[in-house]
């Protein structure tokens, strides 16, 4: 029971990282991207391949995972960000599928549908963090979440955060104010991808195995639900959203009712969350974080 609670918290942490990334893209810039599963996969496979095939240490693979995901973020961001909202959703959804197809078919590198097994466990100061002893792993994941939160929060308060919000509110007005909208959008995409890449890396060392089947469209939808439920444009809220969605997701198992509750129930619930939130509470549970840009606190204008 306690172990299961810890497991949910570990998954919450991994998804919170993804959700914060999604929040930059969707909550701040207002772009509907459906690729977090793809970036998660890139991060996971980077760690898996580097540590199993090339014997790298986990701590070296994690920045590579993040940067590689970010690079792909830029790569798909550059052409697709010029698309309008709905087209972007389809194009990014397509990208997620492409990643999965490549992982499934590039047998010589990714081992195809069989996936990669026996990923070495993480060592922290010579102490081995096994996924079986949950406390240590939980701490590891949440250190990343907290660091991520602090950085993202700083970012939101910075010039860039304001620029991103300006783009969301009115892209044409923003660009006429001299904001390089494409540059900022690509940055947002890269950051969102980076965060998901790191999450993927953590997931790989927790699962100790990767297969293409783990990175379906469902993952992207869950992340989106987290952001929408918690509240777009609020990093605290999306972490809360991550927890709530994971909690709902595993609720039947947690209370021992998984034999009674039909397995499709939670998926239907996710769908309902999207619809209901949009109609009655589009700002999410906590709502957008409104920052009063007081000149006394932060020297606005030039940095």
């Amino acid at each position: 029971m306690l172990n299961f609670m810890l497991l949910i918290l570990i998954y919450t942490g991994i998804y919170a990282l993804m959700a914060m990334g999604q929040n930059v893209i969707t909550g701040y810039v207002g772009l509907l991207s459906l690729t977090q599963a793809g970036f998660l996969a890139i991060g996971s496979y980077t760690t898996a391949i580097l540590s199993v095939t090339y014997g790298w240490n986990f701590w070296l693979t994690i920045p590579v995972a993040g940067l590689l995901a970010a690079a792909f973020g830029v790569l798909i961001g550059l052409p697709t960000l010029r698309l309008k909202g709905d087209y972007l959703a389809i194009a990014t959804l397509g990208f997620g599928e492409i990643v999965r197809n490549i992982l499934n078919n590039w047998d010589s590198v990714t081992k195809g549908p069989m996936g990669i097994q026996k990923i070495p466990m993480v060592k922290v100061f010579g102490y081995q963090l096994s996924p079986y002893s949950k406390w240590g792993f939980l701490a590891l994941v949440w250190v990343f979440v907290i660091v991520g939160y602090v950085l993202f929060d700083r970012l939101a308060k910075s010039r860039m955060g304001r620029a991103l919000e300006a783009i969301r509110e009115d892209e044409i007005a923003a660009s006429s104010m001299g904001i390089n909208t494409t540059k900022y959008k690509v940055w947002a995409f890269a950051l969102g991808a980076f965060s998901a890449g790191v999450a993927g890396s953590l997931q790989a060392v927790f699962t100790l195995s990767v297969t293409p089947g783990s990175f379906t469209f469902m993952v992207s939808i869950m992340v989106l639900c987290m952001v929408v439920l918690g509240g777009m444009g609020n990093f605290k809220a999306v972490v809360l959203g991550a927890f709530l969605i994971q909690f709902i997701s595993y609720f039947p198992q947690l209370v021992g009712l998984s034999n009674v509750i039909p397995p499709q129930f939670k998926q239907v619930l996710f769908g309902l969350i999207l619809v209901v939130m949009m109609i009655w509470r589009p700002q999410g549970i906590l709502g957008r974080e409104i920052r009063g840009y007081k000149p006394s606190k932060e020297k606005g204008g030039k940095r």
Binding site: R82, Y87, F95, I221, V268, V275
Partner: protein, 305 residues
């Protein structure tokens, strides 16, 4: 068998695959043309319509034989269409209408939610097993030389053409079609001109959804009926609609056929690995949107400030 036979067989396969995309794309393009909004749930409405058609067909088919089973088939299709039309209108009322004035993101998210609800409810109540919809006619292949084509493939291509022409006539010539075009141009002005915009939108959804059911039941003959039958095919059909020029009815046909041919020849002759076959659609989408965002037959439109 020579390679010419192989080439023409691929051509035939590509054409009929494209026909399937075109059939679904018509419904997408219809709704998008009026509302400028991707109905993510279109593929799921298609699936529900196919299930209803299947149930009705299995119920009334009984011992009916010969030419009568075709009649039974079209009757089932009609029931499926009516049901889908009602479903589409309900979805619009419940999930999209309240969001008409919200941000662009809101209806999109709501549509994804509806799509998820429908496909999972279907899996919940009807199971995920593929169900067979029996051909109401003899589907043994016909041969032109050594190239084969089935009556079903011919039927799909024929229905696409008929549907395209009648839709075009409907939108261009009828009063309600005119109202639709007006709504598509500018909802507020249309309202001022005395057009009941809500009703027009409702009708658009009804027609779009009925088209989805028609497409679903026709393709179900070959691909069977199952909860996710509309998802990937629907997505590609959307790509086809965009490539052809979204909102353009003949564009849906052009885009669909083009995509079918590209997918078939891409892997058959250009040596693109099969694993990347689904990729072709999305790459084509991105290229078209960058080079000619309005699509092959679409009208260019300036972004409003």
């Amino acid at each position: 068998m020579g390679s010419m036979v192989e080439f023409f067989q691929h051509l035939m396969n590509g054409l009929t695959l494209g026909g399937i995309y075109a059939l679904i794309a018509l419904g997408y393009t219809m709704v998008y043309g009026i509302l400028k909004f991707i109905n993510f749930a279109h593929g799921d409405v298609l699936m529900v319509g196919s299930y209803i058609g299947l149930f009705v067909y299995n119920f009334i088919r009984g011992e009916v034989l010969g030419a009568w089973s075709i009649l039974a088939f079209f009757l089932s299709m009609l029931v499926g269409m009516v049901f889908s039309a009602l479903l589409g209108m309900t979805i619009e009322k419940v999930a999209y209408k309240p969001l008409r004035k919200a941000t662009r993101l809101a209806p999109l998210l709501s549509a994804i939610g509806i799509s998820f609800i429908l496909s999972n409810l279907a899996a919940w109540f009807w199971g995920t097993k593929s169900r067979k919809l029996e051909y109401p006619f003899d589907n043994s292949p016909l041969y032109i030389g050594e190239v084969s084509i089935t009556p079903h493939q011919i039927l799909i291509l024929a229905v696409v053409v008929v549907m395209m022409v009648s839709l075009k006539l409907f939108v261009d010539k009828t009063r309600i079609g005119k109202a639709m075009r007006a709504t598509s141009l500018d909802q507020d002005t249309a309202k001022l001109m005395g057009i009941r915009v809500d009703r027009v939108i409702s009708i658009t959804f009804a027609i779009g959804s009925a088209l989805a059911a028609t497409a679903g039941i026709l393709i179900a003959l070959e691909i069977k009926v199952y909860p996710s039958m509309g998802t990937m095919t629907g997505l590609k059909a959307f790509v086809a609609a965009v490539v052809g020029g979204i909102g353009s009815i003949s564009g849906a046909m052009v885009g669909g056929i083009l995509l079918g041919l590209l997918e078939t020849f891409g892997v058959a002759l250009l040596g693109i690995p099969y694993g990347l076959r689904d990729t072709i659609a999305f790459v084509v989408l991105i290229i078209i949107l960058l080079l000619k965002p309005e699509g092959i037959l679409g009208k260019a439109e300036k972004e409003k400030v």
